[in-house]
């Protein structure tokens, strides 16, 4: 009797269908690249769910953002202001975000119980606590695998200006590892080198194909097809390299987003999403404010707020919000108690995450912390709940595990469930 592990599992199928897609040779230069850009974008818009993550690196303060506690011991100097959603108040450091609150939902009862940067980040990006022997794929590679249309020549997961570690993809493989772009610059090697023009590039590829055609006669072809199809993908990517060209963005647009790095990166994220990239992550650094918490948050959120609100508004105006999930996360929040350096330290016991767009009920607020913000008193959630929610929001079933070498890798902790209160 043959062992049946992994058979019929999703990860197994997706790998196979990827290879089959390649084997039929359906993808060629006449495929994606042949479409006009607008049509391609429309096609994508009609079907493809997309995700953008804003990673407020270092640990953003929930008290200076989504869950203010003004006039309490721990509240700090800032007021809470009303938002576009009656009865919902956020920190006065986010005046622009307040105006688009009807597009967002707030999860105020996050307790991840992990105050270490690396481990906290792992929970937020994989939905799981680090477990020896289980290299969970990150959210980016997972959604790249599950949401990217078969045969798309574009990378499924792009990280803007924060580096990319191939290990994020774990067993999902290099096809879904993050492609890192340095802010407003394209990925490496998209341009033809000196001395090779389009014509000679075509000529050398044809010669390459001839050698390959003779080679495959009588040989097994699954792997050679996969190899050849990646050449088609690369050619298609080169044909669409304009999507990485920051110079095509009018100056007025750059003004609206702010002419700082985060503004540029967010604008690049919009451009990538418009061009059909499945999963884009932008980082804003650094919120690790052990001292001078309030001054740093004025400065950091001053950048974040307007740029982020402009971005969400643009997505709404362009009809992209209905198929784009927005997640604003960090690795944890910050201590309610203010330390002697006017700082706040790491605090994972009671903090907030904001989400919006695809599948999310705009204006919803779930979870509650106590009066001085030290503990969750209603609807406590952790990374598992958040992952169930992200998957449901984009129409995927988080209870179907990935399978790798016969072992299930849960997309979201089965001991938890989705935060239905904020799902549309």
């Amino acid at each position: 009797m043959r062992c049946t592990y992994a058979c019929g599992s999703e990860s197994h199928l997706s790998r196979r269908s990827f290879l089959e897609g390649a084997a039929t040779g359906a993808l060629s230069l006449a495929g994606f690249a042949g479409m006009t850009q607008v049509r391609a974008a429309e096609e994508l818009a009609s079907k493809q769910k997309q995700v953008v993550v804003f990673d407020l690196h270092g640990g953003v303060s929930q008290l200076e953002t989504w869950d203010p506690k003004p006039n309490t011991d721990n509240g700090g100097p800032f007021e809470a202001i009303p938002t576009s959603v009656p009865g919902v108040y956020i920190s006065e450091l986010l005046p622009h975000s307040a105006k688009i609150m009807h597009h967002l939902a707030l999860v105020r009862g996050v307790n991840t119980k992990e105050d270490d940067h690396g481990k906290g980040s792992y929970i937020m990006h994989t939905g799981h606590r680090q477990t020896p022997g289980f290299e969970y794929p990150y959210l980016g590679p997972a959604f790249s695998t599950l949401l990217t249309p078969a045969g798309s020549p574009l990378p499924g997961y792009i990280k803007v200006a924060s580096g990319g570690n191939p290990r994020e993809a774990s067993f999902l493989g290099p096809r879904h590892a993050p492609v890192a772009i340095a802010g407003d610059k394209p990925p490496a090697n998209l341009g033809l080198p000196d001395g090779v023009d389009a014509e000679s590039d075509k000529r050398r590829r044809e010669m390459r194909a001839k050698i390959g055609q003779r080679f495959v006669q009588g040989r097994r072809q699954a792997m050679t097809e996969a190899y050849n199809s990646s050449f088609d993908q690369a050619a298609a990517l080169i044909a669409r390299k304009d999507i990485f060209d920051f110079n095509t963005i009018p100056d007025a647009e750059q003004e609206r987003y702010g002419k700082h790095d985060f503004g540029k990166h967010t604008l690049m994220a919009r451009k990538l999403l418009e061009n059909g990239i499945t999963f884009v992550q932008v980082q804003h650094s650094n919120y690790d404010t052990h001292s001078e918490n309030f001054n740093f948050h004025i400065e950091q959120l001053g950048e974040f707020d307007r740029t982020f609100a402009t971005f969400v508004t643009d997505l709404a105006d362009r009809g992209m919000l209905k198929h784009t999930l927005i997640i604003v996360l960090s690795e944890f929040g910050r201590t309610p108690k203010i330390n002697h350096l006017q700082g706040r330290d790491h605090w994972s016991k009671a903090w907030s995450v904001a989400v919006g767009g695809c599948g999310i009920k705009g204006g919803a607020v779930v979870g509650k912390t106590n009066e001085n913000g030290t503990a969750v008193i209603d609807r406590e959630v952790n990374g598992g709940h958040l992952f169930h929610t992200y998957y449901r929001a984009v129409g995927l079933d988080p209870t179907k595990a990935f399978y790798h070498e016969g072992r299930p890798f849960h997309k979201a902790d089965p001991a938890t469930g989705p935060i239905t209160e904020i799902l549309a």
Binding site: M1, R2, C3, T4, Y5, P132, G133, P153, P155, P166, F171, G173, P174, R175, A177, V179, P187, A188, N189, L190, G191, L192, P193, G195, V196, S200, D201, R203, R204, R205, M207, R208, K210, I211, G212, R214, F215, V216, Q217, G218, R219, R220, M223, T224, A226, Y227, N228, S229, S230, F231, Q233, A234, L237, I238, E405, G406, R407
Partner: protein, 588 residues
């Protein structure tokens, strides 16, 4: 070696696929204890008997017996099987498999022109004895054993040196593994092998998992938290029987900041099934002694009082004192596991070495050796297990036998396939597989094909060090092409960024530029009216074969009418087309 005195005489052979109790006592059904120290002699006896019935004779050399068993397993094997590969295909494959490189153009010409009958045997022997073989084995086993873990506590160079020296002297595999498993880093001469534990930070579960996978052919990861849900014979207690060997070990830092793996004389594993906890059926945590699967628990010396259990007792007030127990569970593990007496170890090693050469395990995947996933060729695996043990785990000798088989030397190309006849399954080993080049092989192959290696060697003279020269190049390939290490080739994936690198990156394109009598320079020096010579050199240098007539025509028309810079450009394009072709990307 097989001898008649060890042949069993079963009247009716039956197949014993004993995988759980590979260490169970070898009660020979003939009533004759063939080899009392070999605990699962039954394996061998049954196998040998069936070998006999399959017309493979113990008088045959091992490689002949292998071929007979491969053929006997698949009906109509001769009709399905690909022919023996020609010299070109064989030369490229064996050089890649044994040295991690492709042959250069001179080696190719020499071998193809050689008319000696046993030139393949001579080549195999020469390659196995070469320093490049030791280096290749070092790289392969480094990736397999260390999964490209970052350097922690031990510099990677010391580990690499240990591996390379070991393979260069053809250290028996059990000895090599014993040295790794016994090294705790306290002996300055054994810092290299201590990387195995120290880079894993002495982590109990990481070590338990990895020794199971690497040395026993069992992926027990699932059994850390509960009995394996799919593999009935893998129990949680098996996982903890292994873990018990390591539960007392920990990473220790002494007063000179020297980091070693130390061990206490107390501490037991404790486990409870998460399913039973969930279903409220658990009777509380259990423990396990030193135990390999269902074999008997290994006894440990008893000490009256805690201080007596130590040669150097731990000091609660001074943690810098490194405790040394009188009985080391970890040392016991090294001696117990890495031994020819442990047939599970021999079997997983035989399967692994087979897979390195043949592209797929007889048990496949390699770490899934259990009853529900039987070997494709049970008798063959039994034979290989016994032979490897009988040859005292002589890796080079074993690889030699595999390389000599027709199975290994078959073409990856089926000629005149019978219409409507399905392609034989990979598990039949009837056709040689395509094996994607590892990142290191890919890097080396490019440097050899373009003659960059020789060029640097000539330019730098005595100062030339292949390792230094390669470090940068190989690293780029590993970063880009190194998916998950140690995985079989069915995980092959190719991505656009890899192709962009091949197509447009200066590192690759610089190899193509004519200079210092490298490939491009040499091709350009050939007379313009002799494109046949250009095609011949180009194909031999890159693909280790002569071009077909069509290819000569292609090259001729590619270069036709071109002189000066355009000709130089065209030559570089031709080289690129060859090294980026699928024929180059795979070991076929």
């Amino acid at each position: 070696m097989l001898t008649n005195s060890r042949m069993g005489t079963l009247a009716r052979p039956s197949v014993a696929t004993d995988t759980t109790g590979a260490l169970a006592s070898g009660a020979d059904r003939t009533g004759k204890i063939a080899h009392p120290t070999r605990r699962d002699g039954i394996f061998w006896i049954v196998a040998a008997t069936l070998c006999w019935s399959a017309a493979a004779s113990a008088a045959d050399p091992l490689h002949v017996q292998i071929d007979k068993l491969i053929a006997a397993q698949t009906p109509d094997f001769d009709k399905l099987a690909a022919p023996i590969a020609g010299d070109e295909e064989f030369l490229r494959r064996i050089t890649l498999d044994l040295t991690g490189m492709i042959p250069n153009v001179r080696q190719a010409r020499e071998f193809l022109a050689d008319t000696v009958v046993d030139k393949r045997v001579k080549l195999i022997d020469r390659l196995l004895a070469s320093p490049e073989h030791a280096r290749h084995m070092q790289r392969e086993f480094d990736v397999m054993l260390m999964r490209r873990l970052p350097a922690t506590h031990v510099p990677v160079a010391e580990w690499d040196k240990f591996l390379r020296d070991s393979f260069a002297q053809n250290k028996p595999w059990d000895q090599l593994v014993r040295e790794i498993l016994a090294a705790d880093g306290s002996d300055p001469a054994q810092r290299g092998p201590a990387r195995f534990y120290l880079a894993r930070n002495g982590d109990l579960h990481e070590i338990t998992r990895d020794v199971g996978k690497l040395f026993l052919g069992t992926n027990l990861e699932c059994a850390q938290c509960h009995d394996h849900p799919q593999v009935e014979e893998w129990k949680q207690e098996h996982y903890y029987g292994l873990a018990a060997f390591f539960v007392r070990s920990f990473v220790h830092t002494d007063k000179d900041k020297k980091v070693t793996l130390a061990e206490k004389a107390e501490g037991e594993v404790s486990f409870e099934s998460v399913f039973e906890i969930r279903d409220k059926k658990s009777k509380g945590p259990k423990t396990s002694g030193l135990k390999l699967f269902s074999a008997a628990t290994i006894s440990e010396p008893k000490f009256a009082a805690p201080p007596e259990a130590y040669t150097v007792a731990p000091n609660d007030k001074d943690k810098a004192v490194r405790p040394v127990p009188k009985f080391s569970r970890r040392a016991k593990f090294a001696e117990f596991i890495a031994s020819v007496e442990n047939r599970r170890f021999c079997r997983s090693t035989a399967n692994r070495l087979w897979s390195m050469m043949m592209g797929r395990g007889i048990v496949h995947p390699l770490e899934m050796d259990h009853a529900l996933n039987p070997p494709s060729h049970p008798l063959l695996l039994a034979l290989l297990t016994e032979e490897l043990a009988a040859r005292e785990m002589n890796v080079r000798d074993f690889l030699r036998e595999l390389a000599l088989t027709q199975t290994y030397q078959r073409s990856s190309q089926r000629l005149a396939a019978v219409p409507n006849q399905p392609e034989p399954a990979e598990s039949t080993f009837a056709v040689a597989p395509l094996k994607p080049l590892t990142p290191a092989q890919f890097a080396w192959a490019m440097l050899v094909a373009t003659d960059e290696l020789d060029l640097q060697r000539r330019a730098q003279g005595d100062k030339f060090s292949e390792d230094t020269f390669l470090a940068g190049t190989e690293q780029r390939f590993v970063q880009l092409f190194g998916g998950e290490p140690g995985r079989p080739p069915d995980s092959f994936a190719s991505t656009a960024d890899q192709v962009l690198f091949l197509a447009n990156d200066p590192l690759v394109l610089n190899l193509l530029k004519p200079r210092g009598d490298n490939l491009a320079e040499r091709l350009l020096k050939l007379p313009a009216d002799n494109p046949v010579a250009v095609a011949e050199d180009l194909f031999l240098s890159t693909l280790t074969r002569r071009p077909t007539l069509d290819e000569v025509k292609d090259v001729t028309s590619y270069l036709s009418g071109k002189a000066g810079d355009p000709r130089s450009q065209a030559v570089q394009e031709l080289i690129w087309a060859a090294i980026s072709s699928s024929e180059f990307r795979f070991n076929h």
